[in-house]
């Protein structure tokens, strides 16, 4: 592999890192919110655009860059997704920062760091890059969660996340160590024990138990889900949005890679454990959200369930990795859109408030008080529930297709049950939003137009992909095929 090609292929990473440095230097020279924001957004856009170059350099197949990374089209797709999400977060964040926070600039640095971490993961093919990526995202997030100065909830959320994430990371690390001890390689592709059989390879198995526990924590799957609502609740909405989308998506991207390259699911044990986790997550996540009255907590619980759904795609990689990848990417696209929109609505509504407006009552009659935000919230709820006209439906359709393709009937059963419960509480949001507003509810004025504009854009995207997803599906399919899955 020529070095030039390698640089071209790695261009997005270089651009992002460069941008990070530029922003840092900019902040160091003069603390100006606007400059930092513009630079950040420019960096993110530039990184996104740099994928065009990278794609063309990549061609078909994959490029291995040191044992740690393997860049292919799928990784780029994930990257673009994360970058766009980060871009949305940056836009919302700039509004949020300018109105509610005193020290603003560090947020952008943290955001860029976290984004970089998340870009690392889809390309990671080595435990070292895996843990580094996960932890870069994690460390940045600790600070982002606890970013607002005076409020207590963010601090509490940050600490909780830090401590529990620490436990999770150690489990992950311990698991890697044991897998390494068992197999002799930390590269995904060679991480199966050398004789290929798993029977009696207890180091490998224990390692996987610890590893998947750690991953399950990061993905907030049952029984490691319990931190999710508290952290989602305490963090500023927009950070929650990032946490719920990019950090989850990135972890998913990397475990996908691990599952495919490492052939982990050849082990019936792991597959079995993951199936159970998936089923339980779908059901318990949804049950927990059932009567929840705090919107952020509700979305947190629902994200548990969504991650459970996504495990279906993961479990499919053993038999049909291409479809699994398609599923996970399309699902993530949908999930990102709707989650970001939901948290974006909360964030936009809370712009002028001391406390976040996260109770479900605070969106009562929203459609009439603030039509754009209300409509987007409704679309996003409907989409999360997986009802047609929105991308959520296609996402769910893919899951069904994947599940049937893999013959995972139990999981499909759980998916149906989970979705059924889910419809109830998503619909509660819808109902609240279309309720006749009480007479004393003040009209929502003075909300930032950029925020509303982005919300509207997200809403339109959900609808557009919900009606004509063809191009998106084709793109994903082509890239996945080109990447050799």
């Amino acid at each position: 592999m020529k070095l030039a090609t390698m640089f071209q292929v790695g261009l997005p990473y270089l651009v992002l890192t460069g941008g990070l440095l530029v922003v840092m230097i900019g902040v160091a020279i003069k603390r100006t919110h606007a400059v930092a924001a513009v630079l950040t957004i420019a960096t993110l856009i530039a990184t996104t655009l740099s994928h065009i170059v990278a794609f063309s350099a990549l061609g078909d197949g994959a490029v291995q860059i040191t044992p740690l990374f393997k860049v292919d089209g799928v990784a780029y797709l994930f990257n673009i997704l994360f970058l766009l999400a980060a871009l949305v977060v940056a836009f919302f964040g700039s509004e949020f920062l300018s109105r509610r926070v005193r020290f603003k600039e560090e947020f952008y640095l943290l955001l860029l760091c976290a984004t970089l971490g998340s870009l690392v993961l889809p390309a990671a093919v080595h435990f070292a890059s895996l843990i580094l990526g996960v932890e870069i995202v994690g460390i940045s997030l600790y600070a982002m969660i606890a970013y607002p100065e005076k409020a207590r909830p963010p601090l509490e959320a940050g600490l909780k996340y830090l401590v529990l994430s620490g436990v999770g990371s150690t489990a992950l690390l311990f698991g890697m160590a044991m897998i390494y001890a068992g197999s002799g390689s930390m590269e995904f592709a060679n991480s199966l024990p050398s004789d290929g059989s798993i029977e009696g390879q207890y180091f490998y198995l224990i390692g996987n138990a610890f590893f998947w526990s750690g991953i399950a924590f990061k993905l907030s799957l049952v029984p490691f889900h319990i931190w999710t609502p508290d952290v989602y609740h305490g963090a500023p909405s927009i950070v929650t949005g990032f946490l719920a989308t990019v950090s989850k998506g990135a972890v998913f991207a990397v475990v996908f890679r691990y599952a495919i390259e490492g052939n982990v699911l050849d082990s019936g044990n792991v597959q079995f454990a993951l199936s159970i986790i998936a089923c339980v997550s779908m059901v318990i996540g949804n049950l927990l959200a059932l009567l929840q009255t705090n919107l952020k907590r509700l979305l947190a619980y629902s994200s548990i369930a969504h991650m459970g759904y996504l495990l279906i795609a993961l479990l499919l990689v053993e038999s049909n990795s291409a479809l699994g990848y398609e599923t996970v990417i399309l699902y993530l696209v949908g999930y990102f859109l709707m989650t970001l929109a939901a948290f974006g609505v909360i964030s936009v509504l809370s712009m002028n408030q001391e406390q976040e407006l996260d109770s479900i009552d605070s969106v009562s009659g929203l459609l009439w008080r603030q039509p754009i935000a209300g409509a987007v919230l409704i679309i996003s709820a409907i989409s999360l529930a997986g009802i047609p006209l929105t991308i959520g439906f296609f996402a769910k359709y893919y899951l069904f297709y994947a599940g049937i393709d893999g013959g995972m009937w139990t999981l499909i059963g759980a998916l149906v049950v989970g979705s059924a419960i889910g419809i109830y509480y998503y619909l509660r949001i819808v109902f609240t939003a279309i309720k006749r507003p009480s007479d004393d509810a003040e009209a929502m004025t003075g909300l930032p137009w950029t925020g509303l504009g982005i919300l509207a854009f997200l809403g339109l995207c959900m609808l557009a992909f919900g009606i004509y997803p063809t191009n998106l599906i084709d793109l994903i399919q082509n890239v996945v095929q080109a990447s050799g899955f």
Binding site: I387, F400, A420, I423, R428, F431, T470, I473, Q477
Partner: protein, 487 residues
Amino acid sequence: MSVMLLILLLLGAGVVAWVSERVNTTLPNWIALITFVATTLWVLVIWFNGPDTDGLYANLNREWIPRFGIDLHLRVDALSLMLIGLTTFLGIVAVVSSWTETKTRHGFFQFNILWVMAGVIGVFSAFDLFLFFFFWEVMLIPMYFLIAIWGHEDKEYASMKFFLFTQISGLLMLVAIVALVWINYNISGVLTFDYDVLKEANLDIATARLLMLGFFIAFITKLPSVPVHTWLPDAHTQAPTAGSVILAGILLKTGAYGIIRFVVPMFNEASKEFWVWGMSLGVISILYGGYLAYSQTDFKRLVAYSSIAHMGFILVGVYSFSKLGTQGAIITMIAHGFSTAALFMMAGAIQERLHTREMSKMGGLWVRAPRMGAVTMFFVVASVGMPGLGNFIGEFLVLIGAFQKSVVLTVFAAIGIVVAAVYGLSLMQRSFQGVPNPDVPKMHDFAFREMSVMVLLMIALVWVGIYPQSLLQMTAPLLSELLRPTL
């Protein structure tokens, strides 16, 4: 192509109606009314132009999502056309019936009505399973809005229940659809959602049974049949008048349509094995629905339960696997659409005047509003199954068809006719006859607006009642296709 235009027209009119709210609050009503009248006329034109050589009135087949072989396949044959006609016609009824009912957000109200209708027309004309499911779900959302925003006191509960039941059963259908497609893909190597292809899918019987159940549950939930009927009384009761009219008149028919169009032809063998269950469920619905209808004291609830009973006839008819039964089911769909729509409109009119649906607070209304009394009498008599009116034709054909299949079940179903008389007349007695309730305020009788629609409905019912052949001959060529090989 024309059907796509029809759908787009309704969708577009919905948006226009919504926007026009800003100009004038009655403008949305007019826009919706004109749209429905226009579409009804359009359908009539298509109707009279007659089918092409394949028996189709319209056909559109474009790629939608080639990745999964999903096409935008809209096709209108006689059965579809009839139901589309019913839809647009009841659209007029719905708009007129709630002309003065909504006090707020007229535009959005009409928007939802128009969009429901668009979705329903999609359901009736989709010949791609994915597309069908898409429309199937889409039509629920505006319906949900109609109940949840403009519903009565218990709207949250009712709308939620409605949505949950139909969605959850829909999920089962989605699973069945995808599984069917996937299995067909594995057998034939062709990934497609096309109705015509999947109909010929070579399934082994055990799989077919399971898949059929997925469809079947979704459809009987929508129909609805006992034991998944419990959403219906609540939804009907709480919905605004237009909502009830649409719900009872059209949305229930989508379930029946689904059974006729999909369950029976696609899973022919499995369905044939299943007949005794299907018919039994129908019979139970007839008896249980009728029986519960009698127990009700709420005007709308009573009518709602009576719908369950009537829909039971459809199940009985379809699962008799005879031409007679199927034709009867189709006629029942149409006739029930007319009669129940009228009764719900009546319930709405009464509620608008008296602010109650409780029949104990009515009584003797005939004296105050003889026209309403006469009209109600007409439709009650129709729904009781009076020969000469549409419902009888349907029920008779169903029963005579079913009789060839199972004497016992038919006899039980026929008992439903007696039960119908019991609740139907008790409805009449408790609301319009008897001593005029002194607490009832003065109420004005039907005026031109409401009466004109009622007269249209009456004419329609009489027409179906005495000249059903006009419909039967349209669907007759379809029967062999719907009932598949052995007949």
